[in-house]
Symmetry: C2
Subunit: 216 residues, 2 copies
């Protein structure tokens, strides 16, 4: 509850809380990166974040709840992509940028991405979070696809929602296979996969737009 | 050890063994379909297959080892696709058929596919099996892609191995997202995804081949 004469004080308190939350989140991500989620304990996270163990539970109800912070981050990336698409001359680079940004967090290590995708499939709470984020993500990307159709870059006969879901297949599949293969450059795979995907949905204009250069 | 004068007897014994193995495999798959892998016990599998519990371990060292049988099945599908590609007039339907056949086993239910993909990522033994099958699969599909290039259907400048891996992204991504979304027709999603993928790699000839009809 904030009364008007207190605006300055809580602002600072809020910022400090936000900072602690960020610290815990980043410490957790660094540990997940090295050891996977399963083998990382809350104690290790709080130690690495330099906060008391009790403090952790003021911010996150469980280790798995860390992923609600990751989910928010991913939704933010999608929102910004939707925004960029509104003024972009071509949505091809917007899509590629978006896919790479989405992969950058979870794709910090193969171990982390493996345990993340595994948890998304096996942990009930995370599964529900994951399906919600997937559904929201499809809705956002659908807006971007429709914008690409307005620009004449994407074939008008395609259903934006279906294209959006097929793009999710490509992005998640690229992450999944990367996590389960010999070490390689995840971002280069996203570029290759999305180049094929773009050609698959583009009009002649979409293929020849100057931002639409190809990569093998 | 088979001596020449015993050829008939062991043939029958071998067939019976093969039959029992198939029975156990199918009973396990039916249970995984309903309950997932984690919540299915070996006792339930042997009961459903109508064999003694000890018998199970004569065929499979563990519940997870059931998946080596699934892996063999998937490799068989890939081998047959390679064979079909040698004589096919267009490899587009060969690819679509292959993707659907690969998905048909694991995709018998969302619960089963979820626990399967989750195990592939989290169980060390299954992860190794999975990466081996992925690598072999890429090699097989690379042969099919090269055949498509010979036929003039796939752009000659593309690297067959990279196209093959990108196809894995699409196929696995389609399965993964299906397993984590509201119930829907998995095979229809494979067709949509592969239609985009095909357009993404095809030459003009590949797009207009009479077997290359499109689907939205």
């Amino acid at each position: 509850m904030v009364t008007q004469c207190q605006t300055k004080e809580p602002g600072r308190r809020e910022r400090r809380k936000e900072e602690t939350r960020r610290q815990i989140f980043q410490a957790a991500m660094r540990l997940f990166e090295r050891k996977g989620v399963h083998d990382t304990t809350v104690e290790e996270i709080t130690k690495a974040a330099d906060v008391g163990k009790g403090t952790f539970f003021n911010y996150f109800p469980s280790k798995e709840a860390i992923f609600s912070a990751l989910a928010e981050r991913q939704m933010g990336i999608l929102d910004r992509a939707v925004e960029r698409a509104q003024t972009a001359a071509s949505i091809r680079p917007v899509m590629i940028e978006m896919a790479k940004e989405l992969a950058a967090g979870p794709g910090r290590s193969q171990i982390m991405l493996r345990s993340l995708l595994g948890l998304a499939l096996n942990n009930k709470m995370l599964f529900e979070l994951f399906t919600r984020v997937l559904a929201k993500g499809r809705e956002r990307v659908g807006i971007i696809v429709a914008r690409g159709q307005e620009l004449g870059e994407i074939r008008p006969e395609l259903d934006p929602e279906k294209v959006s879901r097929c793009l999710q297949h490509t992005i998640f599949g690229t992450n999944f296979i990367w996590a389960a293969s010999k070490p390689s450059d995840l971002m280069a795979w996203h570029e290759r996969s999305l180049d094929i995907f773009w050609r698959g949905i583009a009009t002649e204009k979409g293929l020849t737009n100057k931002q639409g250069g190809t990569k093998k």
